[in-house]
């Protein structure tokens, strides 16, 4: 689960990590008021930042440096009235409903700091780079030696000496070594206490002057969905407006659904088989409209809902059902097809491939309903199914 920057800054502040002041606002007038308070308090530079989960805000014009009330009002007006379009959002962009008005800070130098999973070791790792403020992927690609890591022992946790080592390696000197290593220790504790799967401070900065302070300017957090049950305070930060409507609806029914751009809707059990089904559709010249894993224990209601979600997508010109029943019983899927046909109706071609538990019963159910679902074809195997749906859809176009 992702959270907004303003929420991440709040978590950092609560953990004792220095962050510049700021206020999240949901309207242009609130933005003006928040800016006035900060300016009256002596601030000379403010940063107006759209709060959306997608990256690429700066380039899209959704992070603005402002030096007056008028500039803040202008920036906020633009952000609240235009969708943010970046490489990460798709062409339609994202509507902005929340904006952060933050104290601007002068920067001497920038660093990257994160804790995330090191899959190869099966542990977390503390990652840092002296090339802050830029995308870490770019650093990894162009200058991999600039990325420093310390493995975090899952039982002992991050040790002070590891944090000190990293602070020295990054080039911190004097009192900043202790400031930086203290931030690292606090970040590790925060990750531990919240089950964060990614805790990223980018940039971590030093302010100018001989007594330069180490601070977090921007932060990004992602949390382990499987651990949210033990963190109600984190779960509360969930922002449903950032999620795709269909994906949200699907998750309420325990379905794992991801919307894609293609025209062939897929209903599959198991994540691996669901991906493989998308792959084989592509190999046959088609294009999947979604990833959908109905899981192993989906009920008739959930599977019927899955069809409703797939058929609600106007791009869908054909549907492929691919089920290999293990725990999932094929007859449940067959009944869901019949009930979806009654409730929603299959006006587009439907190709069904069933194998595994209770397949004989399922075939009987579909056979009996043949007349009611004229667009339905049954396939003998995966290859046959993909070929049928691809050709049915290309015939429609």
């Amino acid at each position: 689960m992702k959270i907004h920057e303003y929420q991440a800054r709040q978590l950092l502040a609560e953990a004792g990590i220095p962050v510049p002041g700021g206020t999240m606002v949901t309207s242009i007038s609130d933005a003006t008021n928040a800016a006035k308070t900060l300016l009256d308090g002596g601030a000379t530079l403010l940063v107006v930042k759209a709060q959306v989960h997608a990256g690429g805000r700066g380039k899209a014009g959704f992070v603005k440096l402002c030096r007056s009330l008028e500039e803040v009002t202008e920036a906020a007006t633009f952000m609240f009235n235009n969708p943010m379009v970046s490489v990460q959002t798709g062409p339609e962009g994202l509507d902005v409903t929340k904006v952060l008005i933050a104290d601007g800070v002068d920067i001497e130098s920038e660093f990257y700091l994160a804790i995330t999973m090191d899959r190869a070791n099966g542990t977390n790792a503390l990652i840092a780079s002296s090339e802050g403020g830029v995308e870490i992927e770019t650093v990894a690609h162009e200058n991999p030696d600039a990325i420093l890591t310390q493995r975090i022992d899952p039982l002992a946790g991050l040790q002070e000496y590891q944090a000190r080592q990293l602070a020295f390696d990054l080039g911190f000197t004097g009192s900043q070594v202790r400031q930086a290593s203290s931030i690292m220790m606090k970040l590790a504790k925060l990750v531990d206490e919240t089950d964060a799967s990614l805790a990223e401070i980018n940039p971590l900065i030093i302010t100018p002057g001989s007594d330069g302070q180490v601070m977090a300017i921007d932060a990004k957090f992602d949390f382990d969905d499987n651990a949210l049950f033990r963190h109600p305070n984190i779960k509360e930060m969930f922002d449903p407006t950032e999620e795709n409507d269909s994906e949200l609806k699907a998750s309420e029914f325990g379905l794992n659904f991801i919307a894609l751009d293609g025209n062939i809707g897929c209903l599959v059990n198991g994540a691996g088989l669901a991906m493989a089904t998308m792959d084989i559709i592509k190999l046959h010249g088609g294009s999947p409209a979604n990833f959908l894993d109905v899981g192993g224990a989906a009920t008739l209601e959930a599977v019927t809902e899955a069809f409703r979600i797939i058929l609600a997508d106007s791009k869908v010109e054909g549907v492929l059902v691919n089920i290999f029943g293990g725990i999932m019983k094929c007859d449940v899927i067959a009944e869901a097809i019949v009930s979806a046909a009654k409730e929603v109706g299959f006006t587009v071609p439907l190709v069904v491939r069933l194998e595994g538990t209770n397949v004989e019963a399922a075939r009987k159910i579909l056979k009996a309903a043949e007349m009611d679902i004229p667009t339905m074809q049954t396939a003998t195997d995966l290859e046959d199914a993909a070929a049928r749906v691809a050709s049915a859809v290309s015939a429609v176009c």
């Binding site: 990460q88 995330t116 999973m117 090191d118 899959r119 190869a120 099966g122 542990t123 977390n124 990652i127 995308e135 870490i136 992927e137 990894a140 890591t149 022992d153 899952p154 039982l155 531990d192 089950d195 799967s197 990223e200 990004k220 382990d224 499987n226 651990a227 049950f229 033990r230 991801i258 894609l260 599959v268 059990n269 198991g270 994540a271 691996g272 088989l273 991906m275 493989a276 998308m278 792959d279 084989i280 559709i281 592509k282 190999l283 999947p288 990833f291 192993g296 290999f324 029943g325 293990g326 725990i327 194998e355 595994g356 538990t357 209770n358 397949v359 004989e360 195997d381 995966l382 290859e383």
Partner: protein
């Protein structure tokens, strides 16, 4: 010969009184697995619906039954504890079916399991492990088997024991995905190819056995003629396995990698891909595997035929 488990393996179910534990204990018994009891703290001394003894602790269960394997259906918040309890009780094959265990819990489990070199963890978030038994009768899903061992949720009847394989050839199957494993089993069985042992290693990033450990076991198993390895996007396990195959494997390895059409960045925060250091897309993995001599199937529908070709089995699908 099969690996890790065989017809003599005795199995406890941790979480036997839960709905999934009870349902699949029944399924394993039906397949012929030697289920010898279950564990539910607080219900020790009772019997389950199949008449199996229930114990309060795994240690007690092992002492009373001599079980060497365990199948875990304990809910996610308590599953990590159950894995460690099994290891501490001396269970040698721990199969964790549970989906949704917090990653941090699994990191601690993995670190702690280093103290138990004799414990082998399969999963979590996996369909389990099966060494197919000889078919004794019935048809389709009502077939019956003997001398096999199914620990998990897979449909047993689609598997073919080496002694029942028309082609005389058998494969081992290792997979990160459940239903895609069934697909590979189904395709090979349909071509008269048997399976020595099939293992779902699970879809979680931090897990027990991985490709390399299991490839090594199959490499040393006389009955296994080739290995089918099914991977997917994310991480570098398949790539590392390919390198291992090139240096060590004396048998053909056939692979499929799911997710070439998967949208990027839907799963992982971006620093996660950094540490692996390599590209973890399906296409990159496929290319890497090929360069190490692994036979890579472009289509999930060709896993069986590619395996048959590698084994010199002429396709006469039944």
């Amino acid at each position: 010969m099969a690996i890790l488990i065989n017809g003599d393996t005795t199995v406890l179910c941790q979480g036997i009184t839960g709905s999934a534990g009870a349902f699949h204990t029944r399924g394993c018994l039906d397949y012929g697995t030697k289920m010898v009891g279950g564990v539910t703290p607080g219900k020790g001394g009772q019997k389950d619906t199949n008449g199996l003894p229930i114990f309060n602790t795994v240690t007690e269960g092992v002492k009373e039954t001599g079980a060497t394997a365990s199948m875990i259906f304990v809910p996610p918040p308590f599953a990590a504890d159950s894995i460690l309890e099994a290891a501490d009780a001396g269970i040698s094959v721990i199969c964790a079916i549970t989906e949704g265990i917090p990653t941090a819990d699994m990191m601690q489990v993995k670190e702690t399991l280093k103290k138990y070199p004799n414990a082998t963890l399969i999963g979590p978030n996996c369909p389990g492990i099966i060494t197919p038994g000889k078919k004794t009768g019935g048809d389709g899903s009502s077939s019956t088997f003997e001398n096999g061992c199914k620990i998990g949720i897979m449909p047993g009847y689609i598997h073919t024991a080496p002694c029942d394989a028309d082609s005389g050839k058998s494969v081992g199957i290792i997979s990160r995905s459940g239903t895609l494993t069934y697909e590979a089993v189904w395709q090979t069985s349909s071509l008269g190819i048997g399976q020595t042992t099939c293992i779902g290693i699970g879809g979680d990033p931090v897990k027990g056995e991985n490709f390399i450990e299991l490839l090594a076991r199959f490499n040393n198993d006389d009955e296994t003629d080739a290995v089918v390895m099914i991977g997917e996007i994310g991480g570098s396990d398949e790539t590392n396995a390919g390198i291992w195959v090139k240096e060590n494997m004396s048998k053909p390895v056939i692979s499929f990698i799911a997710g070439r059409t998967a949208p990027k960045g839907k799963r992982m925060g971006h620093a996660g891909a950094i540490i692996g250091g390599s590209d973890d897309t399906a296409i990159a993995k496929m290319e890497s595997l090929r360069s190490n001599g692994v036979l890579v199937s472009e289509s999930p529908a060709e896993i069986g035929t590619m395996t048959a070709e590698a084994l010199g089995v002429t396709a006469n699908a039944c």
